[in-house]
């Protein structure tokens, strides 16, 4: 699949349709984001498969927002999986990127990754190679839902107790773009302690993920305490879907219903 991606990127660069392509490269045995702008660069491009498929992903959209702010007139290409594409669509509705200035190059995720992610839609609308696989249900959510209320509360409090307040979940999140973050506000959540105030720290973040989380799971992967954040945010997403029939990024230009309910728009 990497060859198809490289071929497509080369076409886009050669034709001048994009100024650069935001993807991943392997350097010194480590995978990291890279802005490709020359053909010779493309040799080092990878798709982020380390020991397992997709275990070295990256919040490329987060870099893309940054690039777009620095180079507002240029069109950039970006590597997307299903979740990343949902991210692009949602970020456009939040006015964080101009979709006219982004050309995505899509790849579908293999079954193993889709299953590990419990991803409902493990492929973008268009992709340059490979085959799409079926989505997988949110089994982890059902497992927690099957507990009675007391056990569920206990389960989450035990998880939150491990939090070292590194902000890794927020910092890696491609959908966290606010200039001021509620999690840092001493008025809302007492600062300076670990574990951070329980459960309000994690519930505050979960509430902010409602109508916004595109279920990429990077928070879960980044968490040094192995807190199953993805399960928490999947549950939040399921509630929004049940109540408002909305999942972020499934339909282009569709705004979050919480956006409409809010008095002030964003935040």
């Amino acid at each position: 699949m990497i060859d198809e991606v490289k071929k497509r990127v080369k076409e886009l660069l050669d034709s001048g349709e994009i100024k650069g392509f935001l993807g991943l490269r392997d350097m010194h045995g480590h995978v990291g984001p890279h802005l490709f702008h020359e053909e010779s660069d493309l040799e080092t491009m990878v798709l982020g498969d380390g020991k397992r498929p997709g275990d070295s992903r990256y919040p490329l959209n987060k870099q893309l927002i940054h690039l777009a702010r620095c180079y507002p007139d240029d069109t950039m290409g970006v590597l997307v999986r299903g979740c990343d594409e949902r991210g692009l669509k949602t970020l456009a509705t939040w006015n964080q990127i101009n979709s006219g200035k982004v050309i995505s190059v899509g790849i579908p995720c293999p079954q193993e990754l889709a299953r590990a992610c419990e991803c409902l839609r493990p492929y973008p609308d268009d992709f340059v190679g490979g085959e799409k696989v079926e989505g997988c249900a949110h089994g982890s959510v059902r497992q927690v839902d099957d507990m009675d209320l007391a056990a569920r509360f206990d389960h989450w409090m035990k998880e939150f107790e491990k939090c070292i307040k590194c902000y890794g979940c927020r910092d890696i999140c491609p959908m966290c773009f606010c200039k001021e973050c509620s999690l840092e506000s001493n008025e809302l959540i007492r600062t300076g302690e670990i574990p951070p105030e329980m459960p309000v720290f994690h519930l505050t973040r979960a509430v902010h993920m409602a109508g916004r989380c595109i279920d990429c799971g990077l928070c879960n992967e980044a968490c040094p305490a192995d807190i199953p954040l993805r399960t928490l945010y999947k549950k939040v997403a399921d509630i929004i879907d049940e109540e408002f029939h909305y999942r972020p990024g499934y339909v282009a230009d569709q705004k979050s219903p919480l956006n409409i309910l809010s008095h002030t728009g964003a935040e």
Partner: protein, 526 residues
């Protein structure tokens, strides 16, 4: 660490003592969380009820400086119940009988009296540790920064050998190194008694080897420890001090004494990336460069040598440390002409047997763990597999000795110090970070609400804390993390400098000061 960080994940029992792991070594804590998830027993012994205590199977808060008694007590119960690994003791160790004899008198009842730990908890720890398939010990400065620091570490080694928990995967005696490269600095002979690779300076063969490689005469005398250097400045036997990346004005005990010593120096040179309180006293300040501005290697707590790569050019007039040292050496008349950190690593490999097989090429990816004696060697995950460095592991029979200073009517509170999660050491770097600063902008004194009530102190009140060495002001945090009679201060903050209070009494062997125990008075500030 005798073993590797990732091995903790598969340990059946982890005994954490004197380490606030989630605050100071969070990625080691990750492995402890995972072990727990897999069903491992977690034992935490710490005078403060730290975050890890919340998830421990057994949490005990020992009185300050009573670790030897606790460990002897655990060994007493293990021997009493026959949980020791007799096979390992016979094949791999010597001196067992002396320890057996010594710990006979350390009954749970006696140990409970010394440590303040309930007898049944001592028995529970002995059972969990002694009967586990694999058991790991994790410790940090809470064990070493005592006048009995060496005794404490030897006692932990006794416990590991007694139960056969060394030289095997997911076991071991695992000190967590405080800095990213403190292991590397020690490996390179940044100690008064050894050349790179822990080759003793007072052995003639080593002296000759390094004289021939470096083409100069070398001393056969052991040098001075940090505390001896400060003493030397005070008594005039040492004239000049060159401090690199260290801030003794905050990190060393009894700041008033440190300041006097540093001011006595005829020449004080400080090399750092920020202008520290120590640099303020310097005659010459040399701007070093940060990790992001230089190439080279770091060796981490699990003996893993890893590349660090320059991301940006050094800012301003700063230079990488190796260039500064080389330039000074050249001007002092000993010629050095390394053209890169890689050239230095080549020499390291040449003179250091445990680094012989390490090259830049082989460090791509995840790095290599020493010993790595040749270029075909894959590196060493855990130490002492078939034998110890000296052959058989030597037990040491050790008696409990109380801390150097005790509470009394004038100084009725025990003070211990440590780090908090957002700050690092003397805050030279972290207090320059706006986000970390806003999380915890100032120091504080943790005090039990019961004690605070007695003193008429409320949360956030300004207090004066004094010891026999100094007096500081700070604000209070009322918390059950500390029991009555114990107070805690982080040592990151120059404006409420905990080390103005701490005791410079030294361990007789390692010369490490007793930073973790002293007696103080707490009063509401006027």
């Amino acid at each position: 660490m005798t073993n590797s960080v990732a091995e903790l994940e598969n340990s059946a029992c982890i005994f954490v003592i004197g380490s606030n792991t989630t605050s100071s070594h969070p990625l080691v804590a990750t492995r402890i969380f995972r072990a727990k998830q897999k069903g491992a027993k977690l034992i935490v012994a710490d005078p403060r009820k730290i975050q890890l205590a919340l998830m421990a199977d057994t949490y005990v808060r020992q009185n300050l400086g009573t670790d030897v008694a606790l460990i002897n007590g655990i060994m007493h119960v293990i021997l009493d119940r026959g949980w020791q690994d007799q096979g390992f003791i016979e094949e791999r160790t010597e001196g067992f009988e002396t320890v057996k004899e010594k710990v006979r008198s350390y009954t749970p009842e006696k140990v409970s009296g010394i440590t303040g730990i309930p007898e049944e908890d001592i028995v529970k720890i002995a059972e969990d540790f002694g009967t586990a398939q694999t058991a790991s010990i994790v410790y940090c400065m809470g064990i070493t920064q005592h006048v009995t620091g060496v005794d404490n570490v030897k006692s932990l080694a006794n416990l590991a050998m007694l139960t056969g928990n060394v030289g095997k995967e997911s076991t071991g005696v695992n000190p967590l190194r405080g800095q990213n490269n403190v292991q590397g600095a020690c490996d390179m002979g940044g100690l008064p008694n050894v050349y790179p690779g822990y080759q003793a300076v007072n052995m003639l063969d080593n002296q000759k080897k390094f004289e021939s490689i470096w083409g100069t005469d070398l001393s056969d005398q052991v040098g001075r420890t940090v505390s001896d250097m400060l003493g030397g400045l005070s008594d005039g036997s040492l004239k000049a001090l060159y401090v690199m990346g260290e801030n003794p004005m905050l990190s060393d005990p009894d700041t008033a004494h440190v300041e006097k010593a540093l001011k006595a120096a005829e020449l004080l040179v400080v090399q750092d990336i920020f202008f520290t309180p120590t640099a303020e006293l310097a005659h010459v300040v040399l701007p070093g460069s940060s990790f992001a501005e230089k190439d080279g290697t770091f060796t981490n707590t699990e003996r893993r040598v890893m590349r660090v790569r320059k991301a940006i050019e050094p800012v301003g007039d700063s230079r990488p440390d190796w260039q500064i040292i080389q330039e000074i050496s050249n001007r002092l008349g000993y010629s050095m002409d390394y053209d890169s950190p890689e050239a230095i690593l080549k020499e390291i490999a040449e003179v250091t047997p445990s680094y012989s097989g390490i090259t830049y090429e082989r460090l791509e990816g995840e790095g290599l763990q020493w010993p790595c004696p040749d270029e075909g060697h894959p590196g060493t995950k855990f130490l002492h597999k078939d034998a110890f460095a000296r052959g058989k592991g030597l037990f040491h029979a050790i008696d409990f000795k109380p801390p150097a200073e005790s509470v009394d009517a004038n100084y009725p509170f025990w003070l211990t110090t440590g780090r908090i999660h957002v700050h690092y050491h003397t805050g030279t770097m972290t207090r320059n970070s706006p986000t970390l600063h806003s999380e915890v902008p100032e120091g504080s004194l943790e005090i039990n609400p019961g004690d605070a009530g007695q003193l008429g102190i409320r949360e956030g009140d300004e207090v004066e804390v004094s010891s026999r060495r100094g007096k500081i002001r700070t604000k209070t945090v009322l918390t059950e993390r500390v029991k009555e009679g114990l107070v805690f201060m982080p040592f990151h903050f120059v404006e409420s400098n905990a080390n103005a209070l701490t005791n410079p009494a030294l361990d007789p062997i390692a010369k490490i000061p007793e930073l973790k125990v002293c007696a103080v008075r707490v009063e509401k500030a006027a």
